[in-house]
Amino acid sequence: MAGSTLLGNLFGRSPIGPIQEHMKVANDAVQLLPDLLRASADSDWTAGKGLHKEIEKAERAADKLKRSVRRHLPKSLFLPVPRSDLLDLVSMQDAVANTARDIAVLIMGRKMRFPETMQDAVLAFTEACCDTSAQAFLAIQELDELLEVGFSGREVKRVEDMLKQLDKMEQRTDKQAVSLRATLFKMESELQPVDVIFYYRVLYMLGSVADQAEAVGDRLQVLLAK
């Protein structure tokens, strides 16, 4: 007899909480990358294997959350922000997790280890990329506050400032990537050609993590734009 509550059926599941949760999990996967690169630097492949597993696990959890968000966003829902923007946002967030997983697969699959002279710079670059993802995560965590104030006013300003910071962090990773590629270029002749190809590849993918984190920020910005 309790099904007759018009008001109870009026409320859909808010996508905001699950989207935040999704970004949290995606970022969790990314934050394991520095440890993975440290393990590779030490050639500690047992630790690497464990980290790889954890990253895979987080990526799968992110996939599950992504599907759940999409499933709960039917066209009939009336949302405070455009539905397509939210779906784009989730796709971008998911890309971050996927890239983290791809990096782990590549490094562990080839038991890759960067040349000794590059280790410090690579690790610094990895951490900078992860920080970019963490910043995107922080901005996404403001979504519930944004909802609270109806996506307007000071809170929007606050998030926009966070997004500006995110852009800056991403630019820094771009510069680091340029200098790392330059270093690698100079060493090319001394290294195995196949290894070199995959060094470039991993550097590119690490940079992608930062790019995609920035893309998450961009989607958030679109969401906030009137």
Binding site: M1, T5, R13, S14, L147, G150, G153
Partner: protein
């Protein structure tokens, strides 16, 4: 005349039973929508919600329910057409009550969202049009009522949109929302007190038989000044309660303390919602009952003027309270669980917008659906981008419930009408 004289007591008992049944249905089901918002946003516990519902539903029905009751009782049907056959009025109202209550029960078991108001109006129009004559109905009045069903959710939506926007600018989007909330919220509390007092003074006391005169010229001015004072008292009480709320820093969500301030406000708007619901929906049970009792007591003259005996309202109020106690609390919990997305800052805007609309409708004597009005109010907050996700299919459900409930109520009423006629006047 003979029939009334012969079966008068039977009619009275049946009317009381059916009226109680109908009121039980309202208490078991309809009240849940009015109170569920407060329980869902955790502003009230279920026990508090039930107590508020009991007190303010009754107050609303008693103090401001007179106009709607009289519309249901004698506004829809032209009593003159039945002057020679008062028993038809009695059969009709009995069957309308039984039809509406039965339909509500069926719909509730099936889980269909129907409105008590629509069932009873459909039932009354049905028995009168088919059982008596198409001319027996004040079609103009019925047209007004139906128009008000469309207009009331729109008005409520506009009001709650405005209320939520004002909250956004005055409180949420400021440097220190918590302290702003504490200072601004008593104004909304004043509004609640003013609104209830105003309707009571302008429309209610006349039914109770008290006249207020403070020597300020016309009644309206008197009432406005008195209501403003009542509002101040309410605001002062609210401010006192607000002083106990302290700010707790929370990194996860910086607005949690603010919401706790709004939760106090929501206790007040919950009262206004229960009052509004009582002022409009209790009439659905009490109106037909009053019509039967009035006809029987006056010995067959279809009374247009006689005052309504106080115990009739008691039957309605008791039915609602029993409905709440036996079943309604569970429905409140169900509704509450489903609408946790509605935080107090939005819930209050929706409730106040809806309550304001319903109370105005009650004062004008228009029977409207509290639930539909509340849905309109919630959508209004949604338009102000205040709610995570709303199901727009519900608007379709509302139209469906109109399309189905009106003929269903009418059909059942016609069936019962001819049954009663066959039983009592063969």
């Amino acid at each position: 005349m003979d029939i009334i004289a012969q079966h008068g007591t039977t009619f009275m008992i049946l009317a009381c039973l059916f009226g109680f049944f109908m009121a039980w249905g309202i208490g078991a089901n309809d009240v849940a929508n009015a109170m569920g918002t407060s329980v869902g946003s955790r502003a009230l516990t279920i026990t508090q919600a039930i107590f508020i519902a009991m007190i303010f539903e009754f107050a609303g029905a008693y103090l401001a329910g007179g106009e709607v009751t009289s519309t249901i009782r004698k506004g829809i049907i032209d009593a003159d057409v039945m002057a020679g056959h008062p028993e038809l009025m009695v059969y009709g109202m009995l069957s309308a009550l039984l039809a509406a209550a039965t339909w509500l029960l069926i719909a509730s078991i099936q889980g269909w969202p129907v409105s008590t108001t629509h069932s009873i109006v459909g039932a009354i129009v049905g028995f009168a049009a088919v059982g008596i004559s198409v001319d027996a109905i004040h079609w103009g009045k019925v047209g007004n009522i139906m128009a008000s069903w469309v207009v009331s959710p729109l008005i409520a939506g506009t009001l709650s949109y405005g209320l939520f926007m004002s909250v956004k600018y005055l409180i949420l989007d400021t440097e220190d929302p918590f302290h702003r909330a504490k200072r601004i919220i008593p104004i909304y509390m004043w509004l609640v007190g003013f609104m209830i007092a105003m309707v009571t003074l302008v429309k209610g006391l006349k039914h109770v038989g008290i006249k207020l005169d403070m020597g300020l010229g016309d009644d309206f001015t008197n009432a406005a000044v008195a209501s403003a004072l009542v509002g101040l008292l309410v605001a002062a009480l609210g401010a006192l309660l607000l002083r106990r709320i302290e700010e707790v820093p929370n990194e996860e969500n910086r607005f949690q303390s603010v919401e706790r301030v709004f939760a106090v406000l929501m206790v007040f708007t919950a009262c206004s919602m229960a009052f509004a619901h009582g002022s409009n929906d209790v009439a659905n049970a009490v109106g037909p009952l009053a019509a039967v009792v009035g006809t029987v007591q006056s010995g067959g003259v279809i009374a247009a003027k006689s005052a309504m005996p106080w115990w009739i309202l008691m039957v309605g109020a008791a039915g609602i309270v029993v409905g709440l106690a036996t079943y309604g609390w569970r429905v409140i919990l169900t509704v509450g669980r489903k609408i946790t997305e509605l935080t107090p800052s939005r819930g209050f805007a929706a409730e106040l917008g809806a309550a304001g609309t319903v109370v105005i409708a009650s004062a004008t004597g228009l029977p409207i659906s509290t639930t539909h009005t509340l849905v309109g109010a919630v959508l209004g907050v949604g338009f102000a981008r205040g709610i995570g996700a709303l199901n727009t299919r519900i608007i379709g459900s509302i139209f469906m419930s109109w399309l189905i409930t009106l003929p269903a109520g009418a059909g059942l009423a016609i069936m019962f009408f001819f049954t009663f006629k066959a039983i009592f006047s063969f």
